[in-house]
């Protein structure tokens, strides 16, 4: 039996301290909640410089993976904290995601949506992301966290993400419009966070033989307070992390915006490519005006090799395609 806590609205910091603290306490749980005010959450290994402080949003760094996300009260969070010794057949990250996200996929099916898990951790409807997720090990617990988007103010997300050039932010806004979808767009304008939480509660309780119960705040509060300070600690928050050979923003699994790390005076400095890593192709390009060249899209690595064009540009695009494998979050082997 795993406790399921349909907590609902809590202050922004508590939405993150809950799953960290429950794991540290060695408990298991499924938590459903949302924040009463907006904030930004950075991934455990993300470079601290990718947060744009001019957004004036409060920020923390979580201890699970993934990249920077803007979060607010129009996103319903689900947080699954499990003891791995009770799931001996589940070993790979992909298996943990599947275990924890199946109830979400089933809930979306209840809403009449054909949802699919896009490895490693996005849930897509009609090819567009409605749920972003991440996971990891916190102490001796496996933790999978994510959310369902009821609504998404893409301008706030764009504002929160540092970009070395305004063109990258413009491209980010365009790509988000194309690759994200919200439940209100898909189902109904009247869908509420409470209704989504109730539906998810049923599915998580079914999947984990869960028992719905009130949150034991007295047991948790001291640990959550300490965790809250740790997650906001300036040194932890601003720490350097994964730094790729290009600036990169992930739009959804397999879709990345990439911009070269070159001097601002370099004519290539304002080029942005939307790279689809599963196809090894560039689907969109911004900033080619000064190059007086046209490139038909999508542009695969092979097309790039065969097509005549400025050598410096071709070399750059080839790099942005991801010659460096660490830029890609490839699907995990199963």
């Amino acid at each position: 039996m795993i406790p399921v806590y349909p907590i609902g609205a809590v202050d922004w910091l508590t939405t993150q301290t809950l799953y960290h603290g429950i794991a540290e306490l060695g408990e298991e749980a499924v938590v459903l909640c949302w924040p009463t005010s907006p904030y930004v959450s950075l991934g455990c290994h993300q470079d601290g410089d990718e947060f744009d402080p001019s957004s004036k949003l409060p920020a923390l760094r979580r201890r699970v993976g993934g990249s920077l996300v803007y979060l607010d009260d129009q996103q319903v969070f689900f947080q699954v904290i499990l003891n791995p010794s009770r799931f001996p057949d589940v070993r790979r990250p992909m298996d943990w995601y599947r275990l924890a996200l199946n109830p979400v996929v089933n809930y979306l099916a209840d809403l009449g949506l054909r949802a699919e898990l896009n490895p490693p951790a996005d849930i897509l409807v009609n090819g567009r992301k409605v749920s972003g997720n991440a996971g990891g090990q916190i102490d001796d617990r496996m933790v999978i966290v994510g959310n369902l988007l009821l609504d998404f103010p893409r301008d706030m997300m764009v504002q929160a993400r540092y970009a070395p050039h305004p063109r990258l932010k413009e491209a980010f806004a365009t790509s988000l419009d194309e690759h994200l979808m919200t439940l209100r767009q898909l189902v109904s304008d009247t869908l509420t966070p409470t209704a989504v939480m109730e539906g998810l509660t049923r599915h998580f309780a079914d999947a984990f033989s869960g028992q719905v119960m009130p949150a034991p705040w007295d047991r948790w509060s001291a640990t959550l307070a300490v965790v809250g300070q740790e997650l906001q600690d300036p040194e932890w928050l601003r720490a350097p992390g994964m730094r790729l050979p290009f600036h990169q923003i992930k739009v959804r699994e397999g879709v990345y915006l990439r911009m070269p790390r070159v001097s601002p005076k370099d004519p290539r400095a304002s080029i942005v490519a939307e790279v689809h890593t599963d196809e090894d192709a560039i689907h969109r390009l911004w900033g080619l005006e000064t190059w007086h060249t046209t490139l038909s899209l999508p542009l695969t690595r092979k097309c790039l090799e065969e097509k005549p064009g400025p050598k410096a540009l071709k070399s750059l695009l080839n790099t942005l395609l991801g010659a460096h494998r660490q830029a890609q979050e490839a699907p995990l082997a199963t």
């Binding site: 455990c44 001996p88 990250p93 490693p120 990891g136 994964m242 699907p331």
Partner: protein, 141 residues
Amino acid sequence: MHSSQTSRWQVLDDRAYDERHQWILTSDTLYTVGVTDYTQDTAGEILYVSLPGPGDTLVAGQPFGSIESGKWVGQLYAPAAGTVIAANDRLKEQPELLNRDPYGAGWLIKFVADAPDFVRDLHDAQTYRSQLQQLDEDHHG
């Protein structure tokens, strides 16, 4: 260096193994730590490794670093209390070494232990191999 593969995962005879699927290689008073073939295989494509620096203190059983693969953060645990002498800087630029060569170029840290008796609690290669075989059999029923 002798190795054997009775399960799907390679195990080397020249080193010891802990409960966290990490290997420990002893050279006089210096211990080298890495992750096993099992860990790199189950993690998937490793994209980032976070390690302590020389001089940092290790607390037995506590995380000393972490790895990320597919938005998943896994922890690396100190096999004993001690002090870090060196960390594998190549992993900053080439985290894929953990997948490619977990027993060689993908080593994580070298440390000196506060007390060397921790090695008595480690498993030899044969014991670890049996554990992996059991894991494999359990998984495939």
